[in-house]
Amino acid sequence: MTSPVLEIAHATVGYDGRPVLRDVSLTLTAGEVVAVLGANGSGKSTLVRAALGLVPIGAGSVALFGTPQRRFRQWHRIGYVPQRLGAGGGVPATVTEVVASGRLARRGVLRPAGRADRAAVAAALRAVGLADRAGDPVATLSGGQQQRVLIARALAGGPELLVLDEPTAGVDAASQEAFAGALRAFRDGGGTVLLVAHELGPLRPLISRAVVVHQGGIAHDGAVPEPAGHHADPDHEHVHPHCDEEPAGLWRSI
């Protein structure tokens, strides 16, 4: 058994002295697909951002592939998919150009892109079904397609761990399916996934373990909770895991 892919131990995270997460622990072993669930504002995004070092942790520790996060340098082993494409500025960029950024962690700042880089970018675009849009400006793509560009960017670097922050929020059905397909292929290739989600949709069968963040702590760590009450309605895709002693309505989002 090798060291865990990600190990968060007793971490406390806060913004401006206001704690968002208190004494949180989470361990990911290779090959797992873990979903982090919770209501809006529960701190589930903060958890994965802290794992990546985008938010500093106040107490506790975070280790990536057995190395304390502060000393971790092998960033090519991690593929990060943010919630949405950043503001991006006014300058147009093609789909290929955005996805090519995913090769920088592997290639370094100074080395120019080679044949292996171009092949990896093309393969990543095929994996998310956007090969035909390679030369289009990203701004002309739909929200779901832009989200697929971001997962292609993360896949292009050939990571071992994919960290996705609400990748399917507001994404059309076709893109969700493409997304689930890309994630399944990644898992089948031996990859590990940490995924923040509000609604699981077609990703649900892929998830091997679910972690529920509630009021700054981890309320559940285990099987994917079943939707309850009106949330069990087949038309309602939101997943609001519940605890026995609390009414389901508590998890309702805005």
Partner: protein
Amino acid sequence: MDLFQYDFMLRALVGALVIGLAAPALGIYLVQRRLALIGDGIGHVALTGVGAGLLLNRSPVLVAVLAATLGAVVIELVRAYGRTSGDLALALLFYGGIAGGVMLVGLSDASSGSLNAYLFGSLTTTSPADLVTIGVLGAVLLVTMLVLRPALFAVCHDEEYARVSGLPVRALNLLIAVGTAVTVTIAMRAVGVLLISALMVVPVATAQQVTRGFRSTMTAAMALGLFAAGAGVWVAATADTAPGASVVLVAIGSFLAVALLAAGARALLRRRGRSTPAAHPVEPAEHEVLLG
């Protein structure tokens, strides 16, 4: 062109061409980051450097490079850490910079004409030594911006992603800040402190109306900058107008021309598209504009 038989006109032309090529290569990162006016602010700070240089009898351009670099680094640190009060801090820096410059130039023995030369540019007084400075700094800037394009693009496009990619984000941000300061100071000779941002930003704005990608925008913006610089100096030489203002007006004229042509091409395509449905309505517009 008999006007260019004079050495000073030739130096003016070469200096302008170097700046026309280099300024948009840096400016594209500022536009990408929605900091299009930052060059203007750093220009104000550079003016204090000019004033200090004139007062201390040192090379104004060299002192301006130092002042502008310092100002750019402070602005970058305010941007990275300050967040809420950044806007006001920048305003203080800008106005302090220009007020300091005007005051220091006044205290020195320099005439008011020399202040004007830095405010609005004085291309025709470019000395051979100035030209060497412009050439060397311009070449270094250009090579840096082209070689580091993938990394700089990643940082300006999505800073958090760049951090998770392990890129030296802070160093790259400071590089852009220092590059801006260098561009501002070498462009100061050509177009002046008050018009510098135009050469960094307007060619990029013109190019991105018809381009689809970052690299093509950068290439087109550099070509447009080169054209504006060359045509501007030619207009200035033949019509005896201020070179800095002529260069900027040519750049803005190109922007308007391309905007009109692009709008016309789109309208034409839409009309044609009604009879024959076009698969890629945007693509042909590019070629029509290039022909126009």
